[in-house]
């Protein structure tokens, strides 16, 4: 039963039409005036590049070992799975002793934990966080929600397949996965990285168009340039 009579209520502009994204002139306290074009000034316009591995195998192997043994998680709890991250990093499970630490900024992190469902609004932030991370970087999907939508399979606001939008290195089943399962997952991830398998960032760069198209099909108000490091 569809009510055809609905006329949308007025909304503030969305996407690139947002007020704060418009060009504007700013007067500094000292009287100087200068132009600000938020899109151009705040974001980088270059598409990501795939990065070569090291040519010498033993060097690459050593680097991979280092990367595997020093996983810096971005401290971004995207969903409910984040609640098990705290026990993970605290005395009971103490993930630090496995070389897992958390970092507050995406720049310094290598591992993005998508802790459960991603609403469209968070997906946008997760993509931005991911793009700000440095190659090589890894994504781990926690719980059912990242695999196939989980219990929010029919929700209008959560995505179902995480690998449509970001290259995922590992999935951990559970709702939510326990810290022990996470630790086991990290061990698996380390094995993958040591074997040279954690090339998600290059995959992302190589299939950039495809990922971007998927992202844009879901995020209706795309208010940033395609790539924002």
């Amino acid at each position: 039963m569809k009510d055809e009579k609905y006329t949308p209520l007025p909304r503030r502009p969305i996407g690139l039409d947002r007020e704060e994204l418009k060009k504007r002139t700013v007067t500094a306290p000292d009287g100087q005036t200068f132009e600000v074009d938020p899109i151009r000034d705040y974001y980088c316009q270059d598409a990501p590049k795939a990065h070569q591995r090291s040519y010498i195998k033993i060097v690459e192997d050593f680097f991979n070992w280092c990367r595997a043994e020093s996983l810096w998680i971005l401290g971004y709890g995207t969903g409910c799975g984040a609640i098990e991250m705290r026990p993970l990093m605290t005395p009971r499970f103490d993930a630090y002793r496995y070389g897992i630490q958390w970092r507050p900024t995406p720049r310094q992190a290598n591992l993005l934990m998508i802790s459960g469902y991603l609403s469209v609004k968070t997906l946008k932030r997760a993509i931005r966080s991911y793009e700000q991370m440095q190659n090589p970087k890894y994504v781990v999907g926690l719980g059912s929600c990242t695999i196939n939508g989980g219990m929010y399979w029919d929700s209008y606001n959560t995505i179902k397949k995480l690998d449509e939008y970001l290259p995922v290195d590992l999935y951990i089943a559970g709702c939510m996965p326990r810290p022990e399962a996470l630790l086991a997952g990290f061990e698996d991830l380390k094995k993958i990285i040591k074997a040279g398998g954690g090339e998600g960032a290059n995959k992302y760069a190589e299939n950039f168009e495809w990922y971007k198209a998927n992202q844009k099909s879901v995020i209706k108000d795309w208010d940033m340039p395609d790539y924002n490091w």
Partner: protein, 301 residues
Amino acid sequence: MSFEWIQIPYALLTLLIVFVYGVFMTTIIRKMGARAGGRYGIRLYQTFVDLAKNYALRSHISHGIMFYLGPVFRLTGGVGLILFVPTIYGSVMHQNFAFAGDLVLALYFVFFGTLGMALGAGESGHPYSAVGITRGLSQMTAAELPFVLAVFAVSLQYQTLSITEIVAAQQGGFLSWTLFTNPIAVVAAMIGFLGTMMRSPFDVFLAPQEIPIGPPTEFHSAYLALMQTNRILFPIAKIVIYMNLFFGGATNWPVFFLKVFLIYLVSALVGVVFPRFRVEQSIRFFLIWGLPLGILSILIV
């Protein structure tokens, strides 16, 4: 003291020893913090791995020349400090480039890194960096005040600006340490020390819970690795100054290791159990407690 070429490899050796020691000490201090929380904490070699990983990251994005130079300056501050401060008293190998007026240069280096950092972080354009820099500089200035006053007091006390001579004056039993000859200056300096060690309660310019994580927010990959290297070297270098000025210096490596560790421990002991001050609270703290003590120490001398 005349300059000899052999000092360069010697100084580099010192640097290496200090670096390796610094890595382990950082790790051990972190492990102690972890243990206070009831867990084991990171592995002993973790800091090495982290460093290697950060250097090995493939991509990096620069925000401009200063962004690149910031960490370099910062590291220069740390390395320079080490190089110009006599690390082991009486050792030819680890005398470094100490000279008559090196105390002033050392003080300069203490600030130098911070300024470089400020410029670099400012270039990154991140508002948190800007906030962190503002806080950092203002707090640093306030914290350095008692320290500088204490240093003045000490240099007045020993009538020299050469660190080596100050150390020399303190030899001969621990009672001749500045700690006991001029305790007020030491207390004032230690207050300043707490303020510059980037630990609670005076780490408001890092404050991961407020401005993640302050100035280094935008730094990554090799930039971050440079800064980490500095985070390892710089505190030791600073502690070396403290050790030399107030705690009688060190005549051999074991004493050096022990003293540096103990002084470092002071900041860790305080840092783990206190939350951080707000920036104006910490400035007020330095002004109320540190400044008068510093002035007092000068007056006493």
